[in-house]
Symmetry: C3
Subunit: 314 residues, 3 copies
């Protein structure tokens, strides 16, 4: 594995899961691996879990960390080729990326979609610019269309809690007040399809995700029917893919303790941040169903496993 931009970069998903669990058992096995090396964390967007967990993961491996908040520390970057740069952007990605690469042995990038231009977002222009113009490994800290560090933590968490060989995993849309990316949902669908799950996606009509990510998953528009017998319920809001970026807010889709009773005593998952009593009710979040905190904790170990594998391949 050179880059970690999506599931497609992972040659052996089970090996990566196993490595994550090893890291969790002993995070300080490889404290010398990153010696004299630096990872640059390039944030085009806000972050809490990702920022903290990747910093800690890098530190556990002896890597130095330089964080660049592009918008506040630096200036607007231009991604369009051939443009006359007489607007807001002061530097072109064609210069910025090679230079970041000459100061850092690894780069990690967070860049959300515009949710305005679907084609541009789904071409992963920002992330791909780092690959194209750079010469160091690139780690995706959530891009326009996927969030593989989250998905790896998700499948590791399911493995830790699953009681059957082939659990029923239901990803359900939840209401929200803002236009959110499809990245976490796309990515979870992609990874779930690669696992031995009975995988169901449920959402109101008109909220279909990109078929490339949905793959062979079952799609069910009746939430209650989807939840029947579920071992895991993964709640996530996303804005419309078809009517691109449109906010759909059907409050009846909020996850509640009442709905969780329809499941096979399912574990409740969410990538966070979660708006309480909008996406998921307090009674569900504060119930014994919830494995949201351990799910987030796993972000640390899985990220460390990813960096560790990349460092070993350098």
């Amino acid at each position: 594995m050179r880059h970690f931009t999506s599931l497609e970069d992972v040659s052996d998903i089970n090996k990566l899961i196993k490595k994550s669990l090893e890291v969790k058992k002993d995070p300080f096995q490889c404290t010398g691996l990153g010696k004299n090396k630096t990872i640059g964390l390039v944030f085009f967007n806000s972050s809490l879990r990702t920022r903290m967990s990747i910093t800690r993961a890098a530190t556990n491996l002896g890597l130095s960390v330089i964080t660049l908040n592009v918008n506040s520390d630096s200036w607007k970057l231009e991604f369009e080729d051939g443009t006359v740069m007489d607007g807001a952007s002061a530097e072109h990605i064609r210069e910025a990326v090679p230079i970041l690469c000459s100061y850092c042995e690894l780069l990690a990038v967070r860049s959300f979609p515009s949710l305005i231009n679907q084609e541009e977002d789904y071409s992963e222009r920002v992330l791909m610019s780092f690959i194209e113009h750079g010469n160091v490994p690139i780690i995706n800290m959530e891009s326009a269309t996927v969030h593989p560090l989250q998905s790896l933590a998700d499948v590791v968490t399911i493995l830790e809690y699953q009681r059957t060989h082939k659990p029923k995993v239901v990803m359900t849309w939840g209401p929200h007040i803002q236009a959110l990316p499809q990245a976490v949902s796309n990515s979870f669908a992609q990874w779930a399809n690669a696992m031995e799950y009975d995988f169901v996606i449920t959402h109101p009509k008109g909220l279909d995700l990109d078929r490339r990510f949905v793959g062979e998953a079952s799609v069910e528009h009746d939430q209650e029917k989807a939840l029947e017998g579920a071992d895991f319920v993964y709640v996530k809001n996303w804005s419309s893919y078809q009517d691109y970026g449109k906010v759909m807010s059907d409050k009846s889709w909020q996850m509640t303790l009442e709905k969780l009773k329809l499941t096979n005593n399912a574990r409740l998952m969410h990538c966070l941040p979660v708006r309480r009593n909008v996406v998921i009710s307090d009674d569900a979040l504060d119930s014994e169903h919830s494995i949201i905190i351990p799910q987030a904790e796993n972000r640390l170990y899985t990220t460390q496993a990813v960096i560790q594998q990349i460092l070993l391949n350098l």
Copy 2:
């Protein structure tokens, strides 16, 4: 000592002072103590001294440091229970704190009061949320009502400069143009009362601090009378506690070299930042009375002593 949220967490104040002076003599005695551990610095508000001194103190102990500026790096957090989160806050403290705790062995928090809702501020809602929902030691980097890292540095500085067994220490209100918290003043009063000082608080009428912090201190409304015979003059502005958050700006209370002449050649102290020629005049700040810079320098050693003791108890 598990947490360091106020004087009440300190079982032996003299031991902590002694430890601070030991750290000052040799800050590199325990460079391995923080090995493989990380302190997360969570800032809800701006900082210069606290940010720099705690980072340096942690580094001297071999701790890794992750700084989170909540407002710019992340998103607004919700502290109210049971609320429908359809407003500005994207994440609840009930999720944020346990997760920060899973990435960091220690957390330090800075959160100023609103100065609007006295009851909420004086309940220390933000700081207490970290204690309630977390499972790691919490260090107070200035909360709504107290600033114990400052106060510890203050009493250590007084010890270094005192010429008598029981010095007269006068905390005097100074004018300001903005509504400032009562935290530094409350906290200094609390710590001063625990020391063998002849402790006097002087301020215009209507600016009484919360009685819980004033304790047995003498309160004097005639500033000149209060300054007579003082060995230490601690200047600080605070907004009204009774008429909560109201700015009172009586320029005649500005500390000057002229007024310092009324004292027993007193040392001049201030927690900084200080607005020159508003709170204290240039001639006082630039006189030999001032020990403001060594007072600020002590922030480093006292903070290191606090972290050191917490690490030893982990």
Copy 3:
């Protein structure tokens, strides 16, 4: 060398260049040199290359790094003496600098000019305040009038690529849409004059730089004539020094591949960030003439050489 504020602090420029090339060959020769020491990076302005390269350079030397973004992490500082601080500034530089010095063994400062008050800018008020009120070495990360870390990287880069003993080096003004400082141009002129270059500055009339920096350089107002026989073309915009801060935008001065054909197959240089197709055309930037990326990479090694030499003198 105690401080590194401009060329005037450098006693032996050739030794510093040689040291930079040694660092480039092996950046990990002195990983213990900064042990138990911290460099404070004080940014009054945005930065990408400088921020990243100095952080990495310090890390390579085993220094700890504390970054302070004055405007976002802290509050506005006052530089004027004797003022009544009842405005936006909450802390005076007379307090801030000594305190930063008590937490850090070295400080680096970035502070751009106002481009409004020439006298104030050219007195280097901010940078000089750090020297005046501090007691640790100060490194200039670009001040109102010079950017010596950039210039050192520039002369090292020229040395690496020069094919003759005395190369013809042309610094040409390029158009821009905003008022940019003269610092990079001043500084490059100053350093170029200290090297064995045939050094020519070309710019439209009315854009003369301060004579103290131009020194003995040839000044030519015909860009094409200046470019004839050039071995190195250094492009840079600056706003007017005489009509202080005025933006002059003569698009005909844009550097293009066509113009580079007039040269002796010159290397193209720029300090970055560069607005493509405003200052320099795509075809020039993407041509084999460009050594802009290696020039920026050298920022790392030259900065490390500077810090290394300062640490050795501590």
